[in-house]
Subunit: 345 residues, 2 copies
């Protein structure tokens, strides 16, 4: 497979940014193997954000890398919804003998803002990617002025056109198979979400930009199929989750390596936004799209102590076991080996 | 693109059987163009079934063709559920000034049985395909003894293995993008349904049989991607719905040619089984998976007069506007031209 002229990488492979399960180490390994390594910054802030971006820049040794941010509107807390959510979780608090936590104590997920823009300006990544839309025009202009290519996720043809009109350099066509958060931002209706094989060629036809295919791509065959559909590159996430460079938890790794990984669903339970995860006890018992879950990212807080307690007992019953619909590519091998294998066609 | 040795056709293209929107004319055109034309037999019986199969056999002029059957268990009528369904539809009966119909007066959808087996034995199609599982072993044996290759739809890896264990000759990997009825038969949980790009390679790895890719394939790029994923052939449905040989209704054609076709959803409303259709008024107002809809195919009866009345006014508000997630390939051209275009890579 030949060098990817548009990305500036040797291979047409982007490692998907996956907040909560990886840091700079995975991104460094992928960038050094000839792909585009990505650092998820949504759960980082302050010194951690600065340090991780600096580590990636140093580790990539001049090779291209990507830093990724969320662009959600911070929600207005809704006391009634929060109460309904805690009511839904009450049986679990009792079962584990723990008190419901104070409101809004979960790990924060801040949208891209001034602090992050300053770090982009200082670190000059080759690529900056956005999920859940785009930042405000002034912030976006700072990213482009810093020399970064801007890419962003579209889950529908309408979202792809919206992104093109606002000046992105490429569109990530995120098919419904993808693990983790849907990038959906023009609708809240998950029936609008389209499978990768159907979405990519429609977006290729709808925009004049390079298109990156994402969702369900787990091996070299999947990459070849993505390129056959007209994509410039393939973005791969779940396949990297068993790599030693990922920070995937033990319960998450066990689930990924088991037959349970064959059944995933879109769920709002873990953060408030639809995201694909392996079906676990919480999803089965509450229903994966239960409307009681507060708006993103407020759903996180009330679950945090349940998750911690269950994980301390070796259980992933309350954990977001992020995974796409094709876990068959997950291998506990160094990310460099996995990256090269993805391009071996 | 080279001849398909396994199918015995010139092209690796199967025209998907689509009950209610096509008869033998479409299948004849596709078989004569070098693909595998398919006749959907689920809504045919008696003389109509015999006549349509005979017409296809004559029209295919010795070329391979496929006849398709459903394999559902006929449901036990449930008075309470039927009453709830009519209650949900009551506002529409009032709006249109029509009386609710007698129970169970919709068009029947009979599972494959003795009569159909006798027609297969007499007509000796090259391929017989099944949806919703397989017929009983004695019936299946008759089909195989008649010399037909047996193919059947799998929507999960488990279903593919189940079909392989029962002796099918190839598995159709039906990705979630596909229009019309999901072939799902080992579960009623639609969250188990996997996108084509993720499903095909997993089934290719799980079984030792040829795999046919279906779902979201609408043009030559999609066919090339399916083959890159390891499929032997691609099954294409929605793209044929605007062909003059299809019997697609006027309201259905109008919807397919409009932007509305970009938003489809899985719905149980029209027949009782999950199937993908363009989102219309009924789906929006009742919710596409409303549990009031009776078991397949009993949901059809109560809707029939509403559909007929609305269609007579030029409205598809109550019609099953079957469509996959990639209507971009729908073209009002002869099916032969469309078939050859699908293989033009």
């Amino acid at each position: 497979m030949t060098a990817n002229a548009w990305l500036g990488t040797e291979l047409p492979i982007i490692q998907a940014p996956m907040a909560g399960v990886q840091g700079s180490a995975l991104a460094i390994a992928v960038s050094n193997a000839g792909g585009l390594g990505s650092l998820p910054c949504a759960m980082l802030g302050g010194a951690a954000l600065r340090d991780e971006v600096a580590a990636l820049k140093a580790g990539a040794q001049g090779r291209p890398f990507n830093v990724n941010f969320f662009c959600h509107q911070p929600p207005t807390p809704d006391d009634a919804r929060e109460a309904a959510w805690r009511e839904a979780l009450a049986p679990y608090y009792r079962e584990f003998g723990i008190a419901p936590p104070d409101i809004a104590q979960g790990p924060g997920r801040a949208p891209f803002g001034d602090e992050a823009a300053a770090i982009v300006e200082a670190s000059r990544p080759a690529v900056v990617s956005f999920h859940f839309g785009l930042p405000a025009p002034a912030l976006l202009a700072r990213v482009k002025a810093a020399g970064a290519k801007v890419i962003a996720s579209a889950t529908t043809v309408d979202e792809a056109r919206w992104l093109e009109a606002r000046g992105v350099d490429a569109v990530i066509a995120q098919g419904a198979e993808a693990g983790g958060h849907r990038g959906i931002f023009l609708s809240e209706d998950v029936t609008t979400q389209v499978g990768t094989l159907a979405l990519v060629p429609q977006i290729v036809r709808a925009v004049r930009l390079p298109v990156i295919a994402a969702g369900g791509i787990a091996d070299a065959r999947g990459v070849a199929a993505a390129l056959a559909l007209g994509a410039t590159a393939a973005q791969v996430g779940s396949a990297f989750l068993l790599c030693p460079e990922a920070t995937t938890s033990a319960v998450h790794r066990a689930a990924l390596a088991s037959d349970a990984a064959r059944h995933t669903a879109l769920t709002r339970l873990f953060t408030g936004r639809p995201a694909r995860a392996i079906v676990n006890r919480l999803m089965r018992e509450l229903g994966p799209l239960n409307p009681a879950a507060p708006a993103f990212p407020l759903a996180v807080a009330a679950l945090a102590p349940l998750r911690a307690k269950a994980e301390s007992q070796g259980s992933g019953d309350f954990s977001p076991l992020w995974c796409g619909q094709n876990a068959s590519g997950c291998r506990a091998v160094p990310a460099a080996e996995l990256t090269r294998g993805l391009a071996a066609v």
